[in-house]
């Protein structure tokens, strides 16, 4: 039987990888992918915790990731569109070049 704890550890590992990717890579696509990864890790964590509940209630925990997936899809759409726009304007995918917000 799969221990719920293992699922949480896996989720933590994936989340950490996602964060590290998001922080350490300069390519904006990788940053985006890292964020996605972190998001999915959280989904996994939700599902894992849902497993610990009695079966009639665990459905509640499994619905939340569905919403998150939907939101993540929208977020990915917007994020990619923004990245493409930025690339068109800047001719670069290096996040270090994006300093417009400095004011």
């Amino acid at each position: 039987m799969l221990q719920p704890m293992y699922i949480q550890i896996l989720a933590l590992v994936i989340f950490t990888i996602g964060l590290i990717v998001a922080v350490s890579r300069r390519n904006i696509f990788f940053v985006l992918m890292g964020v996605e990864l972190a998001l999915n890790a959280v989904n996994l964590s939700f599902v894992g915790f849902a497993k610990t509940l009695p079966s009639d209630m665990s459905i509640t925990g499994q619905i939340v990731p569905l919403f998150t997936i939907a939101v993540a899809a929208a977020e990915a759409c917007v994020g990619l569109a923004m990245v493409i726009m930025i690339f068109r304007n800047r001719e670069s995918v290096d996040s270090n070049d994006f300093t417009n917000l400095k004011g």
């Binding site: 964060l19 922080v23 940053v31 996040s95 270090n96 004011g103």
Partner: protein
């Protein structure tokens, strides 16, 4: 026709003003301008209607006058004033000659302003002026009088600057208005002072008189009231100095000659400038109790009369001579008021209106015939070319210098006599310590004032004779071409002049003291008689004949001096401007210098405010803005350039929060 409502009198010129103003406005776009016939008829009609209604009312006036309250004007807490009219013997006399001379001058202007582009506008202003002047004279309260008081100032402004394409005219107009404004503030403060002791009711003349009689009757706290009243009296007198061109607010009147000559005749000689004298007479009940103020008035009047007479000697511009002469004559009127001879001062106002208006209209006819030339040095010998004008002016001249039989003689003689009868002695006491000398004597101020008045009469005769000699005698000194164009004025101008000349000769017989005719005095007695009785006069030790003789002598002496100096001598050819030069200018423009100092000070303060204080405020504003900007920059510098670092920092922040929560077991 006694039931003719009083408000009809000002209504007529008001309608005239509105109608003519509308015509002027509507026709301003067209090339040709409105028909002069219609405009002219309308512009004489309305003043004439006002004159007729005044005459109708005059015949049936009851002894105490007619009072009528039209409606309420301002009604707020502490302040309630009605619009009301008071038609008594004082306002009757003023109204008769205001509307009468106004009508005549409107008629004269038809000829004078012929062909001017602003024909309708001019008469709209004239009608507005008559409306204001009638309100000034006819109102029954100080506040409503003030409406007319500022209204005439406004019309004066509009008419001085009538030919507004010339900036100098505009400046003269501005000067007139602003100087008058200074005086008007005095008037306002005077009203406020009166209100502090008696509430807003006291602004009504009847209520004021009743109040003063009551206060003076109960001698309890009269002292403090007299003090307040004295300050109020000085404030009102400041108002009068502005309107009637007395020291120190007199510089605007000579400059006001920039306006069309009929305006000078009507506003700046006959009517508006005498409203100060009218106000003093109107408030005579108050002023007779304020001996100190009366003395100030005498001194100011004396100084003004003398100063303006001397300044009149130096002028080359024919209108300027008349302007200074007006100031000087106004000085006489104020001297009379200060001697509490309000009836004599009003009488001089009355006769002066005729002879000065005749002089101005004559001067206007001369200027008209010489195509705008005003410099007397370029005139001469006009007696033969324009005989009617010359006769009118000479009659008026005889009146102003006081030749017996003419109107000026009666009024001026009366004033000098009353001045001499003043009871005013100034004790002087001083010691010179070094020699241990002690002096103590008395100055008989009445004699001093009388002598100065007589001296002024001599100077008056000199400059007026100079004017007449330079203009009408000798030979023509202008250019040959202009000589051919000299022509007598048209009939519309001559008829009013001749009527006024008759007035200048005969108006004095309303009060020919030495002939026993005292009609004028008797008719004014209900208004100023009681007040004048308060003042104690010294007994005249001198017979009336002596005064008359001295006055005549002064006039003849002045004429003689003028004849000796200007009759035979070559007049130097005119060069440059007609303004006096050198020491003469110093004398003439002395008060302009004084005003200049005040204006410079105000401008300097304005400069300081503009370039220092305002800059300081702007600097403070900039400083605050700058500090905010620096702070903003500082905050923005936390916004590091790198996106990844930003993410890392936020993760670190979350981690720190989690640790804090774990360690403290939550903040709550």
């Amino acid at each position: 026709m006694t039931n003719l409502p009083l408000w009809f009198i000002p209504l007529f010129p008001l309608i005239g003003c509105i109608v003519l103003g509308a015509i002027a406005l509507i026709s301003s776009g067209s090339k040709k301008g409105p028909s002069e016939g219609i405009v002219g008829a309308l512009s004489v009609l309305f003043p004439a209607l006002a004159f007729v209604s005044v005459v109708l009312l005059s015949f049936n006036m009851p002894e105490g006058g007619i009072r009528s309250t039209l409606c309420n004007w301002i009604d707020i807490p502490m302040f309630n004033v009605d619009i009301g009219f008071l038609f008594d013997s004082l306002s009757r006399i003023m109204l008769l000659f205001v509307t009468g001379i106004g009508t005549l001058i409107a008629m004269y202007s038809l000829g004078y302003m012929h062909g001017d582009r602003g024909f309708a506008r001019f008469f709209a202003y004239i009608n507005l002026f008559l409306f204001s002047m009638i309100v000034l004279v006819l109102s029954d309260s100080l506040l409503f009088t003030f409406l007319g008081w500022e209204g005439v100032g406004l019309c004066s402004y509009l008419l001085i600057g009538f030919w507004n394409h010339d900036v100098n005219n505009c400046k003269a107009a501005n000067k007139a208005f602003i100087v008058n404004r200074v005086g008007d503030i005095g008037f306002l403060l005077g009203m406020l002072l009166l209100m502090t002791i008696g509430g807003s009711n006291i602004l009504n003349y009847d209520a004021l008189n009743a109040f003063i009689n009551m206060i003076m009757g109960s001698a309890e706290n009269a002292n403090i009231v007299v003090l307040i009243l004295s300050i109020a009296g000085i404030c009102f007198f400041i108002g009068c100095t502005g309107k009637s061109a007395q020291i120190p607010l007199l510089t605007w009147l000579p400059d006001a000659m920039a306006g069309p000559t009929p305006v000078s005749a009507l506003i700046h000689a006959a009517t508006m400038v005498t409203s100060g004298v009218y106000l003093l007479a109107r408030l005579s009940t108050m002023f007779v109790h304020l001996t100190a103020v009366l003395h100030i008035i005498v001194i100011i009047g004396m100084l003004t009369a003398f100063w303006a007479a001397v300044a009149g000697l130096f002028q080359n511009d024919i209108k300027k001579v008349l302007a200074y002469s007006t100031v000087s004559q106004l000085g006489y009127m104020f001297m009379a008021s200060g001697a509490a001879a309000f009836d004599a001062s009003i009488f001089h106002v009355f006769t002066h209106a005729f002879f000065k208006a005749a002089l101005f209209l004559g001067a206007g006819a001369v200027i008209h015939s010489l195509a705008g030339e005003q410099d007397m040095r370029k005139m001469g010998g006009l007696l033969k070319k324009t005989p009617v004008t010359a006769c009118v002016m000479i009659f008026a001249f005889l009146a102003i210098i006081g030749i017996p039989g003419f109107s000026g003689f009666w009024s001026k003689d009366l004033i000098l006599e009353r001045l001499y009868m003043m009871d005013w002695v100034v004790p002087v006491e001083f010691t010179i310590p070094l020699f241990n000398l002690h002096y103590s004597f008395e100055i008989l101020m009445n004699q001093v004032v009388y002598v100065v008045g007589l001296l002024t009469a001599v100077i008056t005769a000199v400059y007026m004779s100079r004017l007449i000699i330079l203009t009408f005698f000798g030979s023509y000194r202008g250019s040959k071409e202009s000589e051919a164009h000299i022509h007598e004025a048209p009939a519309t101008m001559l008829i009013p002049m001749v009527i006024l000349a008759f007035g200048a000769v005969f108006a004095g017989y309303f009060w020919a003291d030495s002939m026993g005719i005292k009609y004028f005095e008797e008719s004014l007695a209900p208004v100023v008689g009681a007040a004048q009785a308060v003042i104690h006069h010294s007994e005249a030790h001198v017979g009336a004949a002596v005064f008359a003789g001295l006055g005549t002598l002064a006039a003849l002496l002045g004429m003689g001096i003028a004849w000796a100096k200007y009759g035979k001598a070559r007049i130097p050819a005119a060069k440059g401007s007609s303004a006096p030069q050198g020491k003469m200018a110093t004398w003439t423009f002395f008060w302009d210098y004084v005003h200049g100092v005040v204006i410079t000070v105000v401008n300097a303060i304005a400069w300081v405010v503009d370039s220092c204080v305002d800059k300081l405020v702007q600097f403070a504003q900039w400083l605050v803005g700058g500090i905010a900007e620096i702070l903003g920059d500082g905050a923005a510098s936390f916004q590091v350039r790198k996106v990844r670092l930003q993410i890392a920092l936020s993760i670190a922040g979350v981690a720190a929060l989690v640790i804090v929560v774990l360690l403290t077991g939550g903040l709550i």
